[in-house]
């Protein structure tokens, strides 16, 4: 294999370039009961990069094909774990244990509204490893100088930004609508609903949200779609300042991913602060 980069080199380079990459390794095989620790195939590797040919092999073309498919799904979800297969990739068989280590791209948070809460939420999101985009149609507010922590500050209407990037949003990403203004909120929510984004939240008091809900219905949003909008945004922790509110928002995002029953403002009725 002189000249060709090895699996490690390709894996390392993808991680450094922040390109999504999954490394599948056979960690346990048919000989699991043997006295020796050395098992046939243990350590065999398949490197999976989206939209590129795989590198290496787990020792069977059918197994490689199945593991490549699964690894791409795991990359999308950002999960690293052990999967079990038959010798030729059969599902529901336990012959082989394959560890798939995923290095997904950073999750993306899109914040609509260049307000005070945005600054705190953008900082909190950076702490959690997000790539952060701040978007507002008002160019006096949407400046890099006001949001130095953001990776990107976009002056545009929410629906136009979502037209451009909506297809790239996935289950690990988040859209937070903080404008408090129906003329921005409604196109942001309407634009985000058809995407695959994992979390969609909108700020505002219960009264604001009731009025916004009317506008959203007029724009053709169904009750079922409204259920996917976390509004009022955040967990019910009594947060008041922008920083406290930011914590309640990212905590709600974490709870959405883990499926934990944390008390959401959306599900309550009382006062927010």
């Amino acid at each position: 294999m002189s000249g060709a980069p090895g699996i490690y080199e390709a894996f390392r380079d993808a991680i450094r370039a922040e390109q999504p990459v999954a490394l599948a390794t056979i960690i346990d095989g048919p000989d699991a009961g043997a006295v020796s620790d050395v098992r046939p195939g243990a350590g065999a590797k398949l490197l999976v990069l989206p939209d590129q040919p795989t590198l290496g092999t787990l020792g069977d073309p059918d197994l490689d094909r199945v593991v490549e498919r699964d690894a791409l799904g795991m990359l999308d979800a950002g999960i690293s774990e052990v999967r079990h297969y038959g010798q030729h990739g059969e599902a529901r068989q336990m012959d082989l244990s394959v560890f798939v280590e995923c290095h997904a791209r950073r999750p993306h948070m899109v914040i609509f509204g260049a307000v005070d809460f945005t600054r705190a939420l953008a900082s909190q999101a950076k702490l959690l490893g997000y790539r952060v985009t701040v978007c507002d149609a008002r160019e006096v507010f949407a400046t890099k100088r006001r949001f130095p922590m953001a990776d990107e500050v976009v002056v545009d209407w929410p629906n136009r930004l979502l037209d451009r990037i909506g297809d790239d949003l996935g289950p690990r990403d988040a859209v937070c609508v903080l404008t408090h203004d129906h003329k921005f909120d409604v196109p942001a929510i309407v634009g985000a609903l058809p995407t695959r984004v994992g979390y969609l939240g909108a700020m505002g008091s219960r009264t604001t949200h009731e009025k916004r809900t009317e506008r959203l219905r007029e724009a053709g949003v169904t009750d079922e779609q409204l259920e996917h909008v976390m509004a009022p945004i955040g967990l019910d922790i009594g947060g008041r300042t922008p920083e406290e509110t930011a914590v309640s928002i990212v905590a709600e995002i974490i709870a959405s991913h883990t499926g934990r029953q944390a008390p959401r403002l959306k599900d309550g009725e009382g006062r927010i602060h």
């Binding site: 390794t25 620790d37 050395v38 098992r39 280590e101």
Partner: protein
């Protein structure tokens, strides 16, 4: 894996063989998620971690056994067990499964 790449490159550049231990599974509470990795070179130098510090010493031992040819690649388990073979445990009471192998790929 990210945080150990520089050390691995440096070691390999001077011809050191390297063993890698990666967390592949956790039962109960464990400080690091699957994918956490630690690398050990022939001299016993270490990069990265696989727990909160409870098992790293034992992992170095396994890695040196591997590089010395006294064991092969495979799963090593640390954690609470009635089996006395598991002399090293996690203070948090969890069990972690590591895959230990030489970085020869």
């Amino acid at each position: 894996m990210d945080e150990i790449l520089d050390d691995i490159d440096r070691w390999r550049a001077v011809g050191q063989r390297v063993a890698v231990a990666r967390v592949v599974d956790i039962e109960g509470s464990g400080p690091r998620d699957p994918g956490a990795a630690m690398a050990v070179n022939q001299e016993g130098e270490v990069a990265g971690s696989v727990s909160g510090g409870c098992v790293e010493g034992a992992v170095v031992g396994e890695a040196l056994e591997l590089l010395g040819g006294r064991r092969g690649p495979g799963i090593t388990t640390f954690g609470y067990s009635d089996d006395e073979a598991f002399a090293v445990g996690l203070t948090c009471g969890g069990t972690i499964h590591l895959f230990v192998e030489e970085l020869d790929w």
